[in-house]
Symmetry: C2
Subunit: 515 residues, 2 copies
């Protein structure tokens, strides 16, 4: 096989300008684009295909923990927000408000909202659904026998963000939001952690993205929550990405919506509720965890196509035989399964040079790319490239040339190996870039000011300050453009002094720059 | 087995008050409920489970015709609507308009839209996405090589309806909308019909709902379309339900959005576009096609649970053995497949009387209900009820008592038989209630005025009037509360005079009351 030597890398390297690199990957892999509507993106087939895979896998995990999917209204009356003060404080600044239900043409023929069709009470486009689902729960829960009540919905939500960035922060985004009601605090807290574990498993097993699961400090809680837990992933630039959150809401929303049950003794009790969500932001995490200077690398579990077969067509005699040879490989592969589902295989017979087409799929990050030329066919072999380790030491693409039979029989194992390798690479990088030995603020400053070292995360001793003490810590960190992330669940008891307050430390918390 | 004799039918029979019966089925089967937000419903687990099945099956059909899923913004700038005059005329009266992006508290502490956060240009919550997807197509299509462009999205849309009815007409609803661009009219028209055929197959094969596929008359076209085709289903009260539409849009939207391509000769050409959609309205169709006086009947293809197993628990010794016996049947069934997927089987071991639980699933319309009592277990049999023909001639539930092995081995075949039977019942009823022998308006009036006969549909000779002539026909029909539905695709050439205009007929059209 003729192997093109040209390296069609991206224009921007990760090391040179990570933010710019991120934008270029999205465009080079054809994941999404700006829509022209403020803060909203268009998710294109390859990007949406990744989301469909994430949805399917996570939906199974959510159903396996006993949740049913429902669908609740996109519009929320203002009165719903007025009932939970912290909640409205958290969201009022970024809500899209519907005030009219009709358009008319003005005197110049321009479309304007019809003043005669003004809503008596404006409606908000949901930024999250605690209050509207709370209303439903109040109708559905009567007795302790109705508990626990476990629901989930897949939906779009809107938060009017001032600075947007595709997948990471957009005015409209897609997500799932789970909402449950329980008889008591213990069960609700246990469920909050169970769903956090579902998210950890989804991130690490489905997305090959290592995360730290832990509790957020008070200042980072969801508006209205008693406890907020998160999974945090380290991006290649060292910044933290909050990839999912799970909230124990206490009885705050139950009080606001009147979610009460009669206990076995006949008294009325307030429910304890939880909520938890992950969104299309996950795709931003995948890009910044697995992408390289050639484009995206998609873990096989969530790749819209796991194997792409490219016959090197010449536009002349022999093409038909080549396509037939490739089709037979395609059919052999498409019958197989991995990760509990049929392999997703694409045979691309569009016109165009094979090397150019190969680079399309390199940029898109298809896990396995197979090229087949006339000589390959004559020798009954194929040329196979692993996207996760595509360069040989000599600087050329590291094509393997198994027989067609070997390629077909070994594909399942290869995909598992790629999945494991992507996770391993990300985990090693993450673990190598966590410092635990910094014990004072000066040390923190020096570390994050040193451009010669990878910034990564620093885990510091922490006295769990609250109120004004916590505000002071947040301010100190803000000056360094840092934030507190979470206290890992598996944290061991800590001694020593809090790096911020000097008080005796009770736990260790991650500090990092963040998205 | 003890078979309870009590017939827990609904309060309202179809024959007495069909509209009231429809509402009662939705509530008795726990499909959905009013949300408290104007015109919006909450879709509950059993209803949403049906939608998930429809989505999965239809999504496969849409992907198999070469479409990729994308996601486009929920907000559409007003300027987009101004470009296509007919389109805006059709939708302006029912649009939800976002005018502000922040809430503040007024002096009384009430939340109000912040006057300082008024949008320069209001945004509409999409009622349909031709104009916003048109913008994307204009970016994506450059050359004839980019065509055909075939996209689809699953989304929520909002049309501010004044009179709403769950599933049939709600302000927010869920749907898929497909949008394609083609090089010429012939290909675009062919695709319009291909997707109509996809809808026909989905309705008839997946929903067991017989439909007539045909072209809508000019007055019923989608705003901005050149041709609109529909599938029309007859509900049990004889009314027509438009269950899906497919539109050939000509170059109207291509002109409005600037969707142009360079042809092989190098000249710029306008694309011809299509769009087509089906929605949660389909579920309303399923209810009114298959429901009976005991509740819903769900076709096995789309039933969230196809088989429900109810051990007759006594709350004492022996229950464990009974559950184990049922679990083994459950496991045998859950390994099997039908309609290309694993069987969906529920073993319900909740406390409660078996007969009461049975009636829950009768009302929900689970296709097969299996009850197992201690004596059944001793005899190694089960008591099996087909929901589609549940009453014996003696007025008792028609339980069969196969051995457990027979029940397990025969389940696949039984589900196919139920699916076929539901379709057959609906088709026979539909065909029996179409009249083709009415040749004048008086006859039409008499037929629909006669309360002793099933109103059904009347197919009449028609001269395909347009403009003012068509308006006159629509007025005539409106007085009788009738509408023209569609001209079936398989219509044979027609002779005679148009029942409305007296001019020579060119085709035959269906006339009916409609939802």
């Amino acid at each position: 096989m003729f192997v093109s030597n040209i390296r069609h890398a991206l224009n921007v390297k990760r090391a040179d300008d990570f933010a710019q690199w991120y934008q270029e990957v999205i465009s080079a892999a054809d994941l999404a684009e700006e829509s022209g509507v403020r803060g909203c993106m268009v998710i294109k087939p390859w990007g949406y295909g990744i989301w469909e895979r994430i949805q399917r896998l996570l939906d199974d995990r959510i159903k396996n923990t006993g949740h049913d999917n429902c669908y609740f209204p996109i519009f929320i009356p203002l009165a719903n927000f007025e009932r939970e003060a912290e909640h409205v404080d958290g969201f009022a600044k970024e809500m899209a408000v519907v005030t009219h239900h009709r358009l008319i043409q003005d005197q110049k023929g321009k479309l304007v909202p019809d003043p005669a069709a003004k809503l008596e009470e404006p409606l908000v486009v949901r930024p999250t659904s605690e209050t509207i689902i709370g209303d439903a729960m109040a109708r559905w829960v009567q007795s302790w026998r109705d508990l626990p009540l476990k629901t989930n919905q897949w939906a779009n939500v809107v938060r009017w963000e001032m600075r947007t960035r595709m997948f990471l922060r957009t005015s409209e985004f897609l997500w799932q939001e789970g909402h449950t009601a329980h008889a008591d605090a213990a069960e609700a807290k246990e469920h909050t952690l169970r769903m956090l574990e579902v998210y950890r498993a989804c991130a690490e097993e489905d997305l090959a993205m290592p995360v730290i699961a832990g509790e957020k400090p008070e200042n980072e809680r969801f508006p209205g929550a008693v406890e907020t837990w998160s999974i945090e992933a380290m991006m290649q630039d060292g910044k933290a990405l909050q990839a999912g959150t799970s909230h124990y809401l206490g009885t705050n929303f139950a009080e606001a919506s009147g979610i009460r049950y009669q206990d076995p003794e006949g008294s009325q009790q307030l429910c304890h509720t939880t909520s938890w969500g992950v969104s299309t932001r996950m795709i931003g995490g995948v890009i910044m965890t697995h992408g390289d200077d050639d484009g995206l690398r998609v873990p096989p579990t969530i790749a819209p196509r796991q194997v792409v077969i490219l016959p090197m067509l010449r536009g002349k005699e022999g093409d038909d035989a080549l396509i037939e040879y490739c089709q037979s490989l395609h059919d052999q592969l498409a019958k197989q399964s991995a990760f509990g589902e049929r392999l997703r295989v694409l045979l691309d017979t569009r016109p165009g040079k094979a090397a150019a087409k190969r680079w399309d799929y390199v940029r898109k990050g298809a896990p396995v790319i197979i090229e087949v030329g006339g000589r390959d066919m004559d020798n009954d072999v194929v040329s196979l490239l692993r996207r996760d380790q595509m360069w040989a030491e000599n600087g050329k693409p590291d094509f393997q040339t198994p027989t067609r039979e070997e390629a077909a029989n070994g594909m399942q194992e290869l995909l598992y190996a790629i999945q494991a390798n992507l996770f391993q690479q990300a985990k090693e990088r993450r673990d190598a870039n966590i410092r635990t030995d910094i014990t004072d603020i000066e040390g923190l400053k020096e570390h994050f000011a040193d451009t010669a070292v990878h910034p990564g995360w620093v885990q510091v001793a922490w006295s769990k300050p609250t109120g004004a003490d916590l505000d002071a810590v947040v301010e100190t960190l803000k000056d360094m453009k840092l934030t507190v992330r979470n206290v890992p669940m598996d944290d061991t008891p800590t001694t020593g002094a809090c790096i911020f307050t000097g008080a005796p430390a009770v736990e260790r918390i991650y500090v990092a720059k963040a998205y």
